[in-house]
Symmetry: C2
């Protein structure tokens, strides 16, 4: 399926746009390709865009004292990603986003998103609910982190994206969960 159609079906789950409105909406996006390992946003960068993933998998992370990698999020097809703190506040990125595999994305600038939200009420509605869902996911992840229960975090991750275990290198899944490789294997085996 081409990128335009993927975005169209994604939007249609939330908002009602006419053919003409969708064409106008879509004209604000730019198709971009990244290679495996390529950096999309680097810590310290200015951040001007957010990304809708069409294919591949991205990860959002930061390094603690340049030693330990903490993974904040994996971004799969039909998910959105950026350093939103930096994007919304016009600040420097505090996290890094790179590609676990080759990836195709559609990018939109902050400015273009705000313009199209003003022009089309349904687009504003779409982005409100997109962020509402993101907020709930972030709260849920915070709750399970505070609760410090690796098993629950593992099960939540697998429920969120069942294919992940085979798509993403094990050391990255362990870094997402904040556990060792050995603990991850134990969780995997005990959940089968």
């Amino acid at each position: 399926m081409e990128g335009k159609e993927i975005l169209k079906q994604h939007i249609a789950k939330t908002a009602s746009l006419s053919e003409e409105e969708f064409e106008h909406f879509f004209s604000h996006f730019k198709a971009e390709s990244f290679k495996k390992g390529e950096v999309v946003i680097n810590e310290g960068d200015d951040v001007e865009k957010e990304y809708f993933v069409l294919s591949g998998c991205l990860k959002t992370f930061f390094m603690n004292d340049n030693i330990k990698m903490h993974i904040l999020q994996f971004t799969m097809p039909t998910w959105w990603t950026s350093d939103y703190a930096a994007l919304y506040n016009k600040a420097k990125a505090t996290i890094t986003i790179d590609c676990i595999s080759d990836a195709e994305v559609l990018s939109i600038t902050n400015e273009a998103r705000e313009k199209i939200c003003r022009e089309l009420h349904q687009v504003e509605y779409f982005f409100r609910w997109r962020t509402n869902k993101g907020y709930v996911a972030a709260q849920k992840r915070l709750l399970s982190f505070m609760n410090n229960d690796a098993k629950t975090r593992y099960e939540e991750l697998m429920a969120l994206y069942p294919a992940l275990y085979n798509m993403v290198p094990k050391h990255l899944i362990a870094a997402y969960l904040g556990v060792s490789r050995e603990t991850l294997s134990r969780l995997y085996n005990s959940s089968k």
Copy 2:
């Protein structure tokens, strides 16, 4: 200042509503009062409303195995709160919200918010940005938790709400930071 005026000034920071539009918007809210210690949302409840705090302070928390209290959020005047996961997904509350002090709030139902967002594009814009900011705050809190740095968490909390240290009992601030009372005293003394 009366509640209506507090909400009006809060909205005006983000959205442009005419006098008449604001009156219509405001008519969807209900004034509610809670006593210190009173529960606003209980774990297991159906959740139908969100709350805009006019005065007082609320806390959002959950109990780990009914023993250890984890505090997710303090909610101060001009902040919003609810169990959004439950509110948006029509699910049962997984957290509890109660009052640290007597509190005055304005409540709005899920249904009324959606209605007024459809009717007034500027209200939709307001709620989109309200959630955008909430999302960024939740991500930031998650980052500092993953980084496991109590000093940074303490400084972020004090930057967010400088008056908090004197308004909220110390054992609750410690529960928010995930540290002991002793560690909190040390952080407080070293930051003076």
